[in-house]
């Protein structure tokens, strides 16, 4: 098709059609980007949940009573999972663990005080 031989209304309509095609490409790109971002966010959230669950379980276990081989295995597993996290998530996990550790110390202190009061 020779564009220069087109009639003015036809040329304008053709340009309009091409622009609408560009708009369609733009929206398809947007949908693809958005869905990809959502998928990545969901996967990261799932991974984070698994990791924090594992850490919580590990923390709640009396690690000193575990078999040393098992304990080592578990620690390695936790370490490997932590390496997969990004910096921000890792900081959040650390903060969460620190808070839990503080709470644990407070509870321990309270239990000591109550024991001494009984005696």
């Amino acid at each position: 098709m020779n564009v220069f031989s087109l009639h003015l209304p036809e040329l304008l309509s053709l340009m309009g059609t091409l622009v609408s095609g560009l708009a369609l490409l733009s929206v398809l790109l947007k949908i693809w980007t958005k869905m990809r971002a959502n998928r990545i966010a969901r996967a990261r959230l799932q991974e984070f949940k698994q990791n924090t669950d594992l850490l919580r379980i590990a923390k709640s276990l009396r690690m000193e009573h575990l078999d040393p081989v098992e304990r080592e295995k578990l620690l390695r597993q936790i370490e490997r999972l932590l390496q997969g996290l990004d910096k921000k998530t890792l900081e959040e996990v650390n903060e969460s663990l620190y808070q839990r550790s503080l709470q644990g110390r407070v509870r321990y202190a309270e239990s000591l005080v109550s024991k001494s009061a009984v005696h």
């Binding site: 340009m15 309009g16 622009v19 708009a23 929206v27 947007k30 949908i31």
Partner: protein
């Protein structure tokens, strides 16, 4: 619970498609239903109005910009078509006035218009078909663009649609 939320989201999307995208196409649909065809002027005007009305309901600035450009181009196409039609009618009236008065009551067989004349006047069937084709493609593109955006908003992002309560 999650499944029902997804179903609701799909319902919202379908409602939106029907109300925002399908309903405005009723006038050309009626024209086609009643006359069996849609003139190139009508469909060009519909493409222009459809693009701008759908564009302003978009939340994405890029799509709004595209819609404005499409609308301007089809408005210009419509204006150009209308002007040519008016020029054609004026030329026909001038020719009629230039005829001798005694021939006014006689039926004068007109020369069949050549394809080139029709094309220059914007009246040939081929030209009309091409104009219709471009306009319909543009309308379908605008429809798909906005349907895509609404899918993103109502199904992926779970945005409510017309929560009137």
């Amino acid at each position: 619970m999650a499944a029902s939320e997804k179903t609701r989201a799909i319902h919202r999307f379908v409602q939106c498609i029907l109300l925002i995208l399908v309903l405005p196409l009723l006038p050309p649909g009626l024209e086609w239903f009643l006359t069996g065809t849609v003139t190139s002027e009508s469909i060009t005007l519909v493409a222009s109005m459809y693009a701008i009305t759908i564009g302003v309901s978009s939340k994405y600035k890029t799509l709004l910009a595209f819609a404005i450009i499409v609308s301007i181009l089809f408005t210009a196409a419509y204006g150009s078509l209308a002007k040519e039609r008016a020029d054609h009618l004026a030329a026909a009236q001038t020719i009629k006035r230039a005829q001798p008065s005694q021939q006014d009551n006689q039926v004068v067989p007109a020369d069949p218009p050549t394809n080139e004349t029709n094309r220059s006047l914007g009246t040939s069937e081929d030209f009309g078909n091409r104009m219709r084709r471009y306009s319909i493609i543009a309308i379908v593109m605008v429809f798909l663009v906005h349907a895509g955006e609404r899918f993103l908003r109502h199904v992926v992002e779970r945005e409510p649609f017309w929560d009137l309560v």
